[in-house]
Amino acid sequence: MNLQFPDLTPVMPELFMTALALILLCTELLVKKKGILAALSILGVVVVAYTLIGSSGTTFGGMFVSDGYSTFFKVIFFVNAILSVLISIKYIAIERVNFGEYYSLILISTLGMMIMASAADLIVLYLGLELMALSTYVLAGFIRYDIKSNEAALKYFLLGAFSSAFLLYGISMIYGLTGTTDIKSIALYISEKGLTENPALSLSMILFAVAFGFKIAAVPFHMWAPDAYEGAPTSITAFMSVGPKAAGFAVLGRVFMIAFASIKLEWVAVFIPLSILSMAVGNIVAIAQTNIKRMLAYSSIAHAGYALLGIIAANNEGLASMMSYLMIYAFMNIGAFAVVIMLRSEDFKGDSISDYEGLSRAHPLLAALMLIFMFSLTGIPPTAGFMAKLYVFMSAINAGYTWLVVVAVVFAVISAYFYLRIIMYMYMREPKVEVSLSTSPSLGLALGVTTVAVLAIGVFPLYLVELARAAISGF
């Protein structure tokens, strides 16, 4: 038996990403100035993004697939990685954790997400998920001397490991049922042998829903999120509130839409309460928060609830709206975190909501940017957040869930309270503390990119939506 060379073109971006992360790890040993590593990682990610072009296909015996769906998600991951690196450079120097491993860990985590998005086999999916999660656990605890950062890492690790166990249990159950871990073959076997009534199939579907629910931080599997988001370095909070969530949605879409296609009604019935609970808990508990990172954590839980509407619609339109939602969410959420990071300086934490009081007097431009991101997170036109919500709501209505959209809109109105409260603090209160900003060119660049993206997508949303639709067409 002689093993054949597999076709490596579909896996090119992943190979380049691996090489990049390893090169960075070695470069870190040689260079003293860590800024070089940041520049190198951004440059590298751009090169990796370039290799996405023409990488479509299936390889490794059908275990790994590169299609429009995975490519779209990979673009989200690249945007996430680049913006996170941009907002990190000054911040990790202020926190005195300016170590080179930081950038390679971000890239390895991104690599894990890429593998997840491309996984056509449950084992590959698990591999990618662990690669992503393990690097993110380390990043969450990156401020080693800070007890809160340690707490964040530990909680994230324990609950993440717990959710992995659920996923493995679900995989083993479906393997016992169908004798394969290939997502397409599972669907084929289920429909051929008429297994749709089998309780083990429903059980494994629920186990998958629990495991992915942890990753996307949907209620009732959200308990780790507020503590992990608050304690982690702010730049990593931005990174992990977008990347792992988007990756979770990517695998959610692929596994449930293909493998569990025959029990669609059952899993939609599982996700509807998940979505409603996420929107309810996320938006209502966020009102009571005094720490802005915690508030944004609850807001990210609520946003998982909105994006789930696209999954509940359970058709290509729903998936496309979910994908564009996540892309927009990446820009607006990292933008908001960039503002939070800007308030952090050597002797000022700046993560309390009261620190924003009267910000518009001293720093009108920054306040205006925060206003845009808060409007976008609420979903007020002409920002991108409005378009994101509009398309998921539309897809849910077209799929016949009008009542669910009514519920979602009610919670969106509730969410306006705590988003607009920040704006009220910035513009209508007198400043209590002197806030000195820690500006840097890279942070400015990140803020500029996110602001332009939020406004541009808000005004010209069709381009992104058409892109998502085109990406999903071959699904």
């Binding site: 038996m1 002689n2 093993l3 054949q4 060379f5 691996t18 390893l22 790890l25 070695c26 040993l29 016992g176 049922l177 042998k193 008429g194 297994l195 009534e197 089998n198 083990a200």
Partner: protein, 124 residues
């Protein structure tokens, strides 16, 4: 009926398990529960009946170096274990597997250099 798979060829294993568990418990109960003598005196309540009595708290902090060494050992040991099955079937699986293994070792090497430079192998 499709979807109901009963692994009947494993039935002997099940019977074996049941018999051995029953036998084990029965023997334990008979030998120490019924036949055995029960005499309670202070020596019986020490952790090691015929050993050295413990001194001080058993829970104290180990040096973090032990953990680092243990961690590194596990990583490199487990990865090196992959080499054995590869070496055994090397002449059968050809060039592709050879290239794969070279890449694997290079990645391992990068980790090794990293740990070395970070002084992970130094004891003091």
């Amino acid at each position: 009926m499709p979807g109901t798979y009963i692994p009947s060829e494993y039935l002997p294993v099940l019977i074996f398990l049941m018999v051995s568990v029953t036998l084990g418990f029965a023997l334990l109960l008979i030998s120490s529960g019924i036949l055995g003598l029960k005499r309670a005196y202070s020596e019986k309540f020490t952790p090691y009946e015929s050993g050295v009595p413990p001194v001080g708290e058993p829970r104290y902090r180990f040096s973090v170096r032990f953990y680092i060494i243990a961690m590194l050992f596990v990583i490199f040991d487990i990865e090196a274990v992959y080499l054995y099955p590869w070496a055994i079937v090397f002449d059968k699986i050809g060039l592709y597997a050879f290239i794969e293994m070279v890449i694997f070792i290079v990645i391992l090497l990068v980790g090794f250099i990293y740990v070395w430079k970070k002084e992970g192998f130094k004891w003091d």
